[in-house]
């Protein structure tokens, strides 16, 4: 019987451990390429550091321009 343990991430996430270094880099690069699709949406937002969003009008996201609303960052 398999022992139950607390799970935090998906099997797919943790499968990175089973990849060779070359496979990891290829998968990572592909993920980064695909993630470019949301560049317009997160144009004004920050992932790290102490700033949350770009205050410049140019930093307004396309989604905000269309809806007239502001997004909030979760971190």
């Amino acid at each position: 019987m398999t022992e139950i343990r607390d799970e935090f991430l998906s099997e797919e996430d943790l499968d990175l451990r089973n990849m060779s270094w070359e496979e990891l880099i290829a998968y990572w690069n592909l993920w980064l390429e695909q993630a470019q699709a949301t560049n317009d949406l997160d144009e004004a937002l920050y992932s790290h550091g102490v700033f949350e969003r770009d205050p410049a009008p140019a930093g307004k996201t396309r989604a905000e321009e269309q809806s007239g609303t502001a997004e909030t960052r979760d971190g």
Binding site: D6, L9, L14, H48, D74
Partner: protein, 267 residues
């Protein structure tokens, strides 16, 4: 095979260890998950390191995003500097701090010593877990898995998010448990069983989330004046080289963006 964040780390560390790859991209190198498209580095707090970073970013045609100038006077106060450039079809965002959150001065010194000794350019699981105690729920899942990568029982006890793991660790390492209870009061509840421990883990997570929200709010309040003039500063630096933009940005930020946020800096 090339990767934008590993390649940039290598460039930034050419000739000397100046930066450590951190946050989301470090989590990838630790083979836990791919969750972020931006890069984040911890920078050695000296002038040569900062100047080298500016030169490398300049060679990539990077531009400043809203943030603090990459200048030690602000970085010492815990501020972050942000840049962006294109690499082929990729938008590469690069974020830099010298004082990562929730890391004490002693821990930071040890991080650099270990990195020098091992040549490892990536933040190790324990300090990375401390940095990931943010106000994002998803980061706590990463901390839970990072704790399982740690080899030192004390570090695992300090960062584990699993009641089952904590109960097992406490049984296997009672001396380590006694040692770290003062640093993580939640550990005193291990003997009360899983249900109580899980409730305490939830409360601890919410408290950590609120603490980081307060921390960010202090920086946001301190940056109000800078945010007001940023659209104008951004227009001024628009067509300039990064080095010229850096000089202008620094002079405009002086007297507007305080070197430290109100309430002082804290690890």
């Amino acid at each position: 095979m090339e990767n934008p964040y590993l390649d940039l780390t290598e460039e930034l560390n050419r000739g000397r260890l100046r930066v450590l790859l951190s946050s989301g991209q470090a989590v990838v190198v630790h083979r836990l998950a791919i969750m972020s498209k931006d890069g984040d580095w911890i920078v050695r707090e000296d002038l040569e390191a900062v100047n080298h970073i500016l030169e490398v970013l300049s060679s990539h045609g990077a531009r400043y995003r809203f943030g603090a100038p990459l200048d030690l006077r602000w970085l010492v106060g815990g501020w972050s500097s942000h840049f962006e450039f294109r690499r082929g079809d990729l938008r590469v965002r690069t974020d830099f701090v010298t004082r990562p959150p929730r890391i004490t001065t002693d821990q930071l010194a040890r991080m650099w010593e270990n990195a020098e000794a091992t040549g490892n350019e990536v933040v190790e699981p324990a300090p990375l877990a401390a940095m990931k105690l943010t106000n994002r729920e998803k980061d706590y899942a990463v901390v839970g898995e990072l704790a399982r990568l740690m080899t030192d029982p004390q570090s695992r006890l300090l960062y584990s998010r699993s009641s089952r793991d904590l109960i097992q660790l406490a049984a296997e390492h009672p001396a380590a448990l006694e040692e770290v209870i003062p640093r993580r009061p939640l550990l005193a509840h291990i003997a009360e069983g899983r249900e109580i421990l899980e409730e305490t883990l939830d409360r601890e997570r919410r408290a950590l989330i609120h603490a980081n929200e307060k921390r960010l709010a202090r920086y946001q309040a301190a940056a109000e004046g800078w945010a007001k003039i940023w659209p104008e500063v951004q227009r001024q630096i628009g067509d300039q080289s990064l080095m010229d933009a850096h000089r202008l940005m620094t002079s405009r930020a002086e007297g507007v963006l305080p070197f430290e946020p109100g309430g002082g800096t804290e690890p």
